[in-house]
Symmetry: C2
Subunit: 225 residues, 2 copies
């Protein structure tokens, strides 16, 4: 198994996170490094989705992953087994990452030479939505068991994301989840959000997502080439 570092993230000293995020984004463009910020509730399936995403793209892109959690290193262990570069970030109780914390993570990971760095943010639909990490794109996972009303309750998260992955569609029959209502609620907040139903468990729908991500990364690299 691959080994990985555990980094205790320091609280940021910068008052203006938006400024730090813009600076980080500028440097990512120079390095042609695409940073994806992946957010969700606890247990929506971020790590399983990432494992499949890596399997689909690791022969085409050089990928690194930052696993952010309050505690534990279970997710970094899982990702390490895919063979890509990974670091576990401990937030010391903090409920989100901001741009400076993300920068600490990229430095800890050793992101130079990568095409795609993925930040698996803390499982939380509230705080991570409020802090621009400097990512090129934001994606979120909503899982079917959580219910189709989540855009009503956590609107900012749906507003800041470019992509909404609706995960665990293999369990759809077990839960009262109205996909059409969910998408309509998300689009009312964010008309441009790209919605892709997936099952990270069975693989259903994953091609659409990994195609989108591959095209986003290579398009970004051309734009900044």
């Amino acid at each position: 198994m691959n080994t990985f570092k555990v980094l205790e993230i320091k609280e940021s000293v910068f008052a203006d996170n938006n400024r730090q995020a813009d600076l980080l984004r500028e440097s990512l463009k120079k390095e042609k490094l695409f940073l994806l910020n992946l957010m969700s509730s606890p247990g929506a399936g971020k790590t399983t989705t990432l494992t499949r995403t890596i399997a689909a793209l690791k022969d085409k892109l050089r990928i690194g992953v930052m696993e952010a959690d309050i505690d534990s290193d279970v997710d970094a262990k899982t990702i390490a087994s895919t063979g890509v570069k990974v670091i576990q970030l401990h937030t010391g109780g903090m409920c989100h990452l901001d741009a400076d914390m993300t920068k600490q993570g990229l430095e800890g990971l050793g992101a130079e030479g990568l095409d795609l760095a993925i930040l698996e943010n803390v499982g939380n639909l509230v705080c991570p939505a409020e802090f621009d990490t400097g990512a090129i794109k934001n994606a979120m996972i909503l899982s079917v068991p959580e219910g189709d009303d989540k855009p009503l309750k956590y609107p900012l998260m749906f507003e800041v994301c470019d992509v909404l992955l609706v995960n665990k569609i293999d369990a759809m029959a077990m839960f009262d989840f109205d996909m059409e209502a969910c998408v309509a609620r998300a689009r009312k907040i964010n008309p441009n959000i790209k919605v892709m139903p997936i099952s990270a468990k069975t693989g259903e729908g994953m091609d659409a997502w990994t195609d989108w991500l591959y095209n986003a990364v290579t398009g970004f690299q051309k734009e900044n080439g």
Copy 2:
């Protein structure tokens, strides 16, 4: 249908939340009003669990509910249909309630004369764990689809709770969830945590929970009688 108020909660001005929480708890004891703080991830089933809890206890206890959310009033609508007193609290983006915000909620609800007030906290396993609301007991719901590793990742939440309800056990066959491992992880953090597997959907296991809650409320009232 019952009507309800929507209260926009104000951010607290008190620096010392623990002091405010102790003061609130003292006044709850004087009023013999049992306050339960119910926490979970988004979509773990707090509102459905409450609906069943109210159905089981509303002829024996005078119950009021505070529904806290960033936005929307869908949960208050659901609870209002049970016939108990309910108020929707909007946190204005805030990721948790503290003791002063809870006090605002109790005042808005009009809690005098109630035996049991239940605060449905913001769906979030991180921030609500950090703020004592002044509640007499804390309970959390972890749902089976979220996975058995959550005590490892969100230890403080498991540490501060008196009761862990493991919900959606009717969906157990669909998910890789090791109940024994989950309970062992929770107990390692909090040896006294009371664990009750439930399905708020089918009603399985709900009697154990509502019995516990009824005994907790009446025991508390005797102690402070």
